[in-house]
Each structure stands twice: as structure tokens, then as C-alpha cells.
Symmetry: C2
Subunit: 125 residues, 2 copies
DNA sequence: TCCTTGTCTAGACGGTTATCAAAGTAACGG
DNA sequence: CCGTTACTTTGATAACCGTCTAGACAAGGA
């Protein structure tokens, strides 16, 4: 269990759990957009479909039909997730595939991990 | 066999991690509002100040001066956090105290816990 | 080359949100 | 009672967001 530096460049001590120590305004401004992106039911479900796919990625053509929304609307939500740093996309042939950026999700999970504040629990990353 | 008529199918009362299996639209609709409430820098910082206070609670009079915002605006943000089920408030004498609802935060933390999902991304460092 | 399929972009429209000032409520102390 | 302090609610305004349609762009096949 070697915990190295976060690949996305978070300085040490930048994002401990919320309840351990009050975060700064700068940290809040940096973290809030990702949570905001997840604050929509469609995007939450989209991210879940991407994250839970055994292949580690999923084609937009498999996402769109799962919703009662137009293609452009799904594309818009995927763009929001992308710009929030939560997913990445890649075009192969005619199709575009999305995959999650696990480090981004892990950071948010640790941030909200209130158990880590009161109990000696190792933060498994 | 997938989750069908179970509104709350997991030990914590709602959902497994996002990456374990795709969440339903109903679960997404239930979880998204809390994330949406956290998707604002001011509210994220407010929640952090509440959660990290050693007393387990904090007076509004200690929150308001920490921001360059009017009292009503802070009150509004606290109301959003309250209606999202993330914090609770109690009036004692002249002052109102806020404290976090740890279960709500824990639920979100588990939801985003991609490490616990067993996804084969742990060695991407 | 043209057509088809998959995906994204642009623009518009209605609903929502963040913010403030002003007014309302609640509790304490003259 | 009355005034002060601590929030909260109300009302107004400007900005933002989710959704759509229409169109653009990319890739593959006839």
C-alpha cells in the first residue's frame, strides 16, 4: 500500500476530509465544480454507467439510448463531466468512448469521508 | 438479477459505489440534490467549517464573518445545505447552531469511492 | 462523389439560482 | 414594553442551467 503523490497534482495537505480541517476558499473553489457537475441526476447516472462498465470505457452510442433525452443534451452533459475533469473521451473510428478519471473521484470521496475524521481509518487510495 | 423494487438496497441505506454497478435513475434523483448543494464553493466551505469544528457544531455568528457576503446570503446557503439533508440546525437562546449529518456525507463518500469498487485502475500511477 | 450514421456545436427559450436590501421573527436586557 | 442583536424570509434582479431544434463535422461505405 504505497501512497504516492496524486497524479493530478494536488499538493500535500490540500484535500483532507472535509471534517478534519476547514478547507480554504481557494480549495473550495477548486473542488466545487466537480461536485457541481455531479449535482445533476442525468450526469450522475452517466458517470455511473461509465464507471461501472467492465471494459473501463463506454461508447456514447450506448449511453444515449438509456435516457429519454436528445443526443445533443447527452453530449452536453458529457461535456460538463469532461470539463469538470471527471471523465475523458477518445474517438476511435466513428465512435467516441468515455472513461472515468479515477483520481478525480477518489479525491471527492476522501473529501467527504467523514469517518476518516473521527476514526483511525486508513484512506485506501 | 438486478435491483428492481428495492428503494434502498444497500447496507448504508442507499447505494453502492458508483463504479460497482450503474445506479438507477431513481437513485440518481435521490443522490444528486446533495451533490448539487455541495457544488458551490461557499456551501462547501460552510460545510467544512461546520464539520471540522471540534464542538461538533458551530454558531451562524461564527460562519457569517468568514465570508465577504451578506447575512441573508449565508442564511440562504445554510438553508440549501439543510434542505439537502446535509446539516441540521438548532436554536439555543439567541443563537442558531449548525451541525453536520454524518450519514449523509458518508453515503456520498461511499458513492464516489472508486477504490472500494475493485476497479483495475489502482496501478495507473 | 454522395449518402448515412454517430457525435458535437450554436442559438434560443423557459426555469432556476446567487445575491442583495428590506422587512419579519425570535430572544434577551433594560 | 421598548430597543438591540441574531437570524430568517421576502421580493427583485441578473446570471446561469437544462433542454430542444437545426446545423456542422467526421468517418465509412456505395
Amino acid at each position: 500500500m504505497s501512497k504516492q503523490d496524486e497524479p493530478l497534482g494536488w499538493p500535500d495537505g490540500c484535500c483532507p476530509p472535509l471534517a478534519v480541517m476547514a478547507i480554504t476558499a481557494a480549495d473550495a473553489a477548486e473542488l466545487a465544480p466537480a461536485l457541481k457537475a455531479l449535482g445533476d441526476p442525468v450526469r450522475l447516472q452517466l458517470l455511473s454507467m461509465i464507471a461501472s462498465n467492465p471494459a473501463g470505457e463506454i461508447c456514447v452510442c450506448n449511453l444515449t439510448p438509456a435516457f429519454d433525452l436528445s443526443g445533443p443534451t447527452i453530449s452536453h452533459h458529457l461535456k460538463v463531466l469532461r470539463e469538470a475533469g471527471l471523465v475523458s473521451s477518445e474517438r476511435r473510428a466513428s465512435w467516441v468512448y468515455y472513461r472515468v478519471i479515477p483520481e478525480a473521484l477518489a479525491k471527492l470521496s476522501v473529501l467527504l469521508d467523514v469517518a476518516g475524521a473521527g476514526t483511525p481509518v486508513a484512506m485506501t487510495l
